[in-house]
Symmetry: C2
Subunit: 213 residues, 2 copies
C-alpha cells in the first residue's frame, strides 16, 4: 500500500505563501520567490509540459516527488480564491485544461460540487465529509501508489496532527518573507520525525523527513 | 577585519528555545532537544573541556563555528534569568568558573554593572549604550577576528535588521517544539541571503548562509 506524503517550498523563516493571497497573488505577496528554483528546472518543466530548463541537483528531487503519486489531496484555498459556495461553477482551478497532476485530485471543502474531468488524467473531486473520508477516497484512487498532500499549510498541519503523514520533503529557499502562511505551526512535540536526506542545490536545500511511529 | 556571524540550533518549526524559559529550563521546555546532537559530539565537548563524544559530519562544523571568534555579543536573557537590575550581583552567568567562550563577551542590558573576569579568557562586559555601541566594543576587542552573536533570537533579529550580520549557520534539528522563541521572525524581504553550504549529519542538518549586500 502507498504512502502519504507532501513536498513544499518554504522560506528560511518558515512560510509557504506570502501575505495577502488573492487571485492576482495566488502564492501571496513575494510567494513566487519560493518557486523560482523549481520553475527554472527541467524536472518541473517536463511535468508541466514545458520546454527547456536547467538540470542540476534539484532535478532528481523534482522527479522523485512526482514519481509514484496516485492521487492528490488539497485544501480548497489551494484550488482557488473562491470562498463560500461555488457560485456559477466557472472556477475550475488555477491550472487550465491540462493541470500538472495527471491523477485524481481530492479538494477538501464544505460545499458539494460535481467532479471535473480535465485533460491528461487530472480530475477534481470535491470531498465534503472531512479529512479522513477524503483520505480514504484518495487512498482508494491511488491503489498501490502514494497520496500526495499538495497543500496549503493548514491542510498539511491537519494531516500531520491526525498522524496521516509518512514522509515529507521541505525545499528550504534562502529568502525571508516576514509574513504569510507558516508551514509548521501549532505542531506538538509528540510528533516525532527523523531526517533521512539532505541535498544542497543552487538556490535551495532539499530536506527529506520520515515520521517515526 | 573580522566578520559578524551567528550559529544557532533551530527546530524544524523554527524555534531556538521552547516556551516558559526559566532558571530551571534555560532553553525553555523541550529546548534541550535542540542541543543533543552537539553535546554528544567531540567538537562541542572539546570546547567545553569535556572528554569523549562522537566524531561525525557535525564535528568540523562545530570546530569551524568556534574558530576565529574574537568576541561574543549576547542578549541579557541569554546571560541569565535575572530581570531588571542586577540585585546583589551574585548571578555571573550559566557557565560556572570557566565559561566556554574564552574571549570577551558583551552582554546587552539597560542596567550598568562592572565587568566580570572568569577563568580561561572569558570576561563579561555589560553594554548599556545599545546594540551599535556594543558591536563597536566587540569589534575592537575581536581585532582581526570575528564577532559571534550568541543569541537569543531577538538579539539575532536586531542584528540582522540593522544589517550587521555577514554570515550565519543554522543547525536544523528534526523536532517540533510547537511554541517558544522563533529564530526568524519579523524579518523583511529586503534582507537578501544566499545558501553557501549544506551538510547532512546524524540528527541535524547544517545550513550556512551569507548576507548579500
Amino acid at each position: 500500500v502507498g504512502k502519504v506524503r507532501f513536498q513544499l517550498s518554504m522560506s528560511l523563516d518558515g512560510y509557504v505563501a506570502g501575505p495577502n493571497q488573492s487571485e492576482e497573488h495566488p502564492l501571496g505577496e513575494g510567494g513566487e520567490q519560493l518557486h523560482e528554483w523549481a520553475i527554472a528546472n527541467v524536472g518541473w518543466r517536463r511535468a508541466h509540459r514545458l520546454e527547456g530548463g536547467e538540470e542540476n541537483a534539484s532535478t532528481p528531487v523534482l522527479e522523485r516527488v512526482a514519481d509514484n503519486v496516485g492521487a492528490v489531496i488539497m485544501g480548497r484555498n489551494m484550488f482557488g480564491p473562491v470562498r463560500g459556495g461555488w457560485g456559477d461553477g466557472s472556477w475550475e482551478g488555477w491550472w487550465g485544461d491540462d493541470p500538472p497532476f495527471h491523477v485524481p485530485v481530492f479538494v477538501l471543502t464544505h460545499h458539494a460540487r460535481g467532479a471535473i474531468q480535465k485533460d491528461g488524467g487530472t480530475s477534481f473531486h470535491f470531498a465534503t465529509d472531512g479529512l479522513d473520508s477524503a483520505l480514504r477516497q484518495a487512498r482508494a484512487a491511488a491503489g498501490e501508489r502514494d497520496v500526495s498532500i499538495a497543500g496549503g499549510a493548514s491542510t498539511v498541519q491537519q494531516c500531520l496532527r491526525a498522524g496521516h503523514v509518512d514522509e515529507f520533503d521541505v525545499h528550504v529557499v534562502p529568502v525571508f518573507l516576514g509574513a504569510g502562511e507558516r508551514l509548521f505551526d501549532g505542531l506538538g512535540g509528540d510528533l516525532r520525525i527523523e531526517v533521512t536526506e539532505t541535498i544542497g542545490a543552487p538556490g535551495v536545500t532539499h530536506l527529506r523527513y520520515s515520521v517515526v511511529r
